[in-house]
């Protein structure tokens, strides 16, 4: 995973709440066995509408998505994160994220910045008045900068540290393999196993 400190890129205003992962990437696009190429399915149904924001050439290089509340609800599919990143997004801003989506994002290095809905409204207005404008997201200072707007964002300390350092979770856990083995040695004998008896 690449380390993340700051990012500056074109902001894309997505005036929608409850953006579920079926909208981010419909099931028919989930059949690949790789982590790449999912950009073709990103918001596939909405992109059929010519007026959909991502269809505007102004946002072709968009990398900071600014969405309504409850982003990433529903299915656990990590493909939603891959699709956003394959498209070029590095940051999603929303006032509330679904748990699994936010967790998946943290594993892949997609920053989910929790900004108050009032600030999201201000950023939406700024972007709509200045289509194609860039937004800066500073993970060190935990702030979003859009024109004159400076909006603080929330992210938990541990995820922030991992993103700043670009650390791999599995490697971190394997440092404690002795503790895992010790735990296993104390598991009750009645716990089931899947293997044939």
């Amino acid at each position: 995973m690449d380390a993340f400190t700051t990012h500056t890129g074109v902001g894309v205003p997505l005036r929608r709440g409850n953006v579920d992962t079926d909208q981010i990437i419909p099931a028919e696009y989930l059949k690949r066995v790789t982590r790449t190429g999912f950009e073709d399915g990103l918001f596939a149904a909405w992109r059929k509408d010519e007026s959909f924001v991502l269809n505007s050439p102004v946002y072709a290089d968009g990398s900071v998505l600014v969405a309504g509340p409850d982003f990433g609800t529903g299915s656990s599919r990590e493909h939603a994160v891959w699709a956003l990143m394959n498209w070029g997004f590095r940051v999603v801003i929303s006032s509330r994220f679904a748990d699994i989506f936010r967790g998946n994002s943290g594993k892949q290095g997609l920053l989910t910045a929790i900004v108050s809905q009032d600030d999201v409204e201000l950023i939406w207005k700024y972007l709509e008045n200045n289509p194609g404008a860039e937004i800066s997201v500073d993970l060190v200072a935990r702030s979003v900068h859009a024109g004159e707007i400076v909006a603080p964002f929330e992210i938990d300390d541990y995820t922030r540290w991992r993103l700043l350092e670009g650390l791999d979770d599995i490697g971190l856990t394997l440092r404690h393999e002795d503790l895992v083995a010790d735990f296993e040695s104390h598991r009750p004998s009645h716990k089931p196993v899947t293997a044939p008896a």
Binding site: V33, A45, E78, G103
Partner: protein, 500 residues
């Protein structure tokens, strides 16, 4: 939140852990902490890891790239469900085929047990685990699938994970997790006849919203929950994720033990006695404090259906399509307007007047034997309405066999319904079972998202009873509509008008 965190911090220091009151979720959590350190997530041990073909290929690929083995193949189980056709014959979609073949290759290479298409134990992953007796009280269960919350019906802490986490569990049998908050959903009193577990959970989601459970583990409590069968409890816990909660739990009791006894992977002999003794202690202490509580009166619940494009947009069947202007909150208003445009519905239309093209009975929400029995009892002696197709898709091969041994397949086919092979099917349409654009379904599945059941398809989430009655009448209906001479009386929902 403070309570849960305080509790865990105290436990970490080894102080007074045993004398502090705890919720069921906290007890199961605490029993699985491998490592706890200040400022870091807890490292939790995972007792059972379930896999399917959609969310696992990239995880196995990651292991291969890093040269890591599966740490505990004996705690891991795979099944083919999302892509499998429900009509006889091989997978015809080449991309689906590659995905299923990839799972087979990965399971062979890494030594993971797999129940493939055609196997006697194949089925939807969340139907297979419980029916084998692999899902037991007090366990931690994960799967790369958000409906893993289903297994919480046994008093297990069970939740969906992403593919990176699947890889993490394969490699380490653990997951780093931040503590959840706890939410008690108390369903007091007795459910009226004709009101089911599905109606309970749809009402809960409509009450707290699709984000209401965000960050919480829900514990469902109260007389109405205790009276439910295991199948019905699984339906309730299954849809916890639709309220934003990663997990839903129900304290194990005699109903749980009776369901488990004698199942292939249930403990036997002295192990059974030891297990039941441990399971009996798995309940929230009387003085345990939840971070939040919600109360519902079971007696006021009625058959519930969704009208919109998220599972929180639901109402009693007796209600009418709402007017977006009635919503106070601007984002709710916009969401309702978008939903009605997508669903092709006019405000004020009685929900009972909505005509459907397709009825789907199945999925990890309502594809178990009890669900099929309930639907069969309603369609028995009736015909599926002209112009309506009804698909009945058992949740597993075992459920299908059981249903056939009871003659349910005949009841369905004689009524004009299609009796299919097990799989996820039209819940998400990764196989050929999809809605055409503009088609409308009454579906016992869990998500009415735009396009979920096929591009442009319109979904109303319903219970198996409502699904079956709807198939017969062709419009959203409850079984009482079939019994009554005219549709103006005898409505189950007529006793109440409240919007849950």
């Amino acid at each position: 939140m403070a309570h849960a965190l305080d509790h865990r911090n105290a436990a970490a220091e080894g102080s007074q852990r045993d004398v502090m009151a705890g919720t069921l979720a906290e007890k199961v959590w605490d029993a699985h902490v491998v490592r706890r350190a200040e400022g870091e997530p807890d490292l939790l041990y995972i007792d059972l890891h379930l896999l399917h073909e959609v969310t696992s290929p990239q995880a196995f690929d990651g292991l291969r790239l890093a040269g890591r083995p599966v740490r505990r193949p004996d705690l891991t189980l795979a099944t083919e469900d999302h892509n499998v056709p429900t009509t006889p014959g091989p997978i015809t979609d080449p991309v689906s085929k590659i995905q299923v073949e990839t799972l087979r290759r990965n399971c062979e290479e890494f030594g993971v047990r797999l129940y493939p298409m055609g196997d006697a134990d194949q089925g939807i992953v969340h139907v297979v685990g419980p029916q084998l007796g692999l899902t037991q009280p007090g366990m931690t269960v994960v799967c790369g699938d958000s409906h893993t919350s289903t297994h919480g019906a046994f008093g297990a802490l069970a939740f969906g994970i992403g593919t990176s986490e699947v890889e993490h569990v394969l490699a380490t049998q653990t997951l780093p997790l931040k503590p959840f908050r706890t939410l008690a959903v108390n369903v007091r009193g007795e459910l009226p006849d004709g009101v089911t577990a599905k109606d309970i959970v749809l009402a809960v989601i409509a009450t707290i919203g699709t984000g209401g459970g965000q960050g919480y583990v829900i514990e469902y409590r109260g007389e109405a929950i205790e009276a439910l069968s295991m199948e019905a409890r699984m339906t309730v816990c299954n849809m916890s994720i639709e309220a934003g909660a990663r997990a839903g739990m129900i304290a194990p009791d005699q109903t749980t033990f009776d369901y488990l006894r004698g199942r292939p992977h249930a403990p036997t002999g002295a192990d059974w006695e030891a297990a039941v003794a441990e399971w009996t202690s798995l309940r929230s202490d009387d003085d345990a404090v939840f971070d939040a509580e919600v109360d519902l009166d079971a007696a006021e619940l009625t058959p519930f259906v969704t009208w919109g494009t998220n599972p929180g947009q639901g109402l009693p069947l007796s209600a009418s399509v709402p007017d977006p202007e009635e919503f106070a909150d601007e984002s709710d208003r916009l969401a309702a307007a978008n939903a009605l445009a997508y669903m092709g519905l006019e405000p004020g239309t009685p929900l009972r007047d909505i005509k459907v093209d397709t009825v789907f009975v199945g999925s990890c929400t309502n594809g178990r034997i009890e669900d099929l029995r309930a639907a069969a009892a309603v369609v028995q002696g009736h015909r599926v309405a002209d112009g309506v197709r009804m698909l009945v898709v058992p949740g597993s091969a075992k459920v299908r066999l059981q249903a056939e041994s009871e003659g349910l397949d005949k009841v369905f086919t004689q009524a004009g319904a299609e009796w299919r092979l097990p799989g996820c099917s039209m819940c998400l349409g990764m196989n050929p079972d999809t809605l055409a654009p503009g088609e409308r379904s009454a579906s016992t599945s869990n998500r009415n998202f735009e396009g979920r059941q096929g591009k442009g398809g319109r979904t109303h989430l319903v219970s198996p009873l409502v699904a079956a009655a709807t198939a017969v009448r062709g419009t959203l209906s409850s079984p009482s509509d079939l019994d009554s001479a005219s549709r103006s009386n005898g409505q189950l929902a007529s006793a109440t008008t409240g919007e849950a």
